[in-house]
């Protein structure tokens, strides 16, 4: 049983809005909406794939995320004031992205020019592995590479994105994938 964040069991309140909810409740609702975003994207992909095939669904996914990433990066830059051309901007972006509510992840900043992000638990990969069609080969390698490059280059076109270890997982690993963001020219 989930614990309610706000008790709206009484009378109808014509003036109800999110401002009536406590800070803790609002954080919980943000997490719920982040999960909503992930589910919405997943249902669209599966529905398109079932009707038109995986290639069409994958092309749509690329199309959609090319546009949405711009919006998400705008939120990070303008609403959270995340700017600067170092890899720490990417680390901060990961922390504020709605997607990162749904992952269990580790961020390791090594100086100002190297970031390693480890996705310990990823519901998307777990679902793809359970499905067993091998779609993680394309989604976790090609699409993620493109998305991470878009994120990196938003802050600094000289940041290289290197997949350190990505699916398919050959054996049960203690993490899902690992990526490195590195400013080119740095050692």
């Amino acid at each position: 049983m989930t614990k309610p964040l706000y008790d709206y069991s009484g009378d109808f309140d014509p003036s109800f809005d999110y401002g009536k909810i406590s800070r803790e409740g609002l954080v919980g609702l943000l997490a719920a909406n982040a999960n909503y975003i992930r589910k919405l994207d997943g249902h669209w992909y599966l529905s398109a794939m079932n009707r038109c095939g995986d290639d069409v669904a994958y092309d749509c996914d690329i199309d959609v995320w090319k546009r949405l990433m711009k919006f998400e990066l705008k939120i990070a830059s303008e609403m959270m004031n995340i700017r600067g051309d170092g890899v720490s901007s990417i680390a901060k972006y990961f922390q504020v992205s709605p997607w990162f509510w749904t992952f269990d992840y580790r961020l390791e900043l090594a100086g100002s020019d190297r970031l390693v992000v480890t996705f310990v638990k990823c519901p998307t990969l777990l679902a793809l592995e359970k499905e067993g069609l091998g779609r993680e080969g394309r989604i976790c390698r090609e699409l993620e590479q493109d998305l991470f490059e878009t994120i990196a280059h938003h802050f600094n076109p000289r940041i290289a994105v290197v997949p350190v270890q990505v699916p398919p997982r050959k054996e049960v690993a203690d993490f899902c994938c690992k990526w490195e963001f590195r400013i080119e020219g740095s050692k």
């Binding site: 049983m1 989930t2 309610p4 964040l5 706000y6 008790d7 709206y8 069991s9 109808f12 014509p14 109800f16 809005d17 999110y18 401002g19 800070r23 803790e24 609002l26 954080v27 919980g28 609702l29 943000l30 719920a32 909406n33 982040a34 909503y36 975003i37 589910k39 919405l40 994207d41 249902h43 669209w44 529905s47 398109a48 009707r51 038109c52 069409v56 092309d59 749509c60 199309d63 959609v64 546009r67 949405l68 919006f71 998400e72 705008k74 939120i75 303008e78 609403m79 959270m80 004031n81 995340i82 700017r83 600067g84 680390a91 901060k92 922390q95 504020v96 709605p98 961020l107 900043l109």
Partner: protein, 187 residues
């Protein structure tokens, strides 16, 4: 220029979480997530429509939202404690929905069992009218009815949903749509 909600321009903070934001910042971010959901849904629809036609995109949209509306209703029930078997519960769900704040709606709760909701402003309808392809017939009439029926029947399978006014509009000053939710307990 978008309003800044939090100043994360300084050093990377490994312990950052959204609980650092002010209450006003969290409410604003929730609104931004709502916009994110609307954009994500819209981009998926258009991307698939451009590849496979409107009938396929509409079929996927219906499938996606028949599932997602249940998720949204569970959030309202479990996280906000919105329960009951009457039109009051539906009125509260409208208020709590991530979609709601994007519309200008009048909620007229005439009695415990009788709700009339009027959409005075709807970004989806405005976009469809601008596009001029007549897609509002299916989206605002067929799909909306399906979604509203799901909402109503989640709380009470006897609740009736009636479209009192639907697009197309007579002009820019006309309302977008008006719906009635009613439970007849005299049977």
């Amino acid at each position: 220029m978008t309003k800044s909600l939090y100043d994360y321009s300084g050093d990377f903070d490994s312990s950052f979480d959204h609980g650092r934001l002010s209450k006003e910042g969290l409410v604003e971010l929730l609104h931004t997530y709502s916009d994110y959901i609307r954009r994500l849904d819209g981009h998926w629809y258009l991307s698939l429509m451009n590849r496979c036609g409107n009938d396929t995109a509409f079929a996927c949209d219906s499938e996606v939202w028949e599932r997602l509306v249940l998720h949204e209703l569970k959030i309202a029930r479990d996280l906000l404690n919105i329960k009951g078997d009457d039109a009051v519960a539906v009125a509260k769900v409208f208020q709590a929905s991530p979609w709601f704040w994007m519309y200008k709606c009048d909620i007229d709760l005439k009695s415990r069992d009788h709700l009339v909701i009027t959409y005075n402003s709807c970004p989806t309808l405005f976009a469809l009218e601008k596009e001029g392809a007549g897609r509002e017939q299916k989206i605002c009439v067929d799909l909306e009815m399906k979604i509203f029926m799901k909402m109503a029947h989640f709380y009470n399978p006897e609740m009736k949903v009636t479209a009192l006014k639907l697009p197309p509009r007579s002009g820019p000053d006309d309302i977008c749509c008006r719906w009635e939710f009613k439970v007849d307990r005299k049977k």
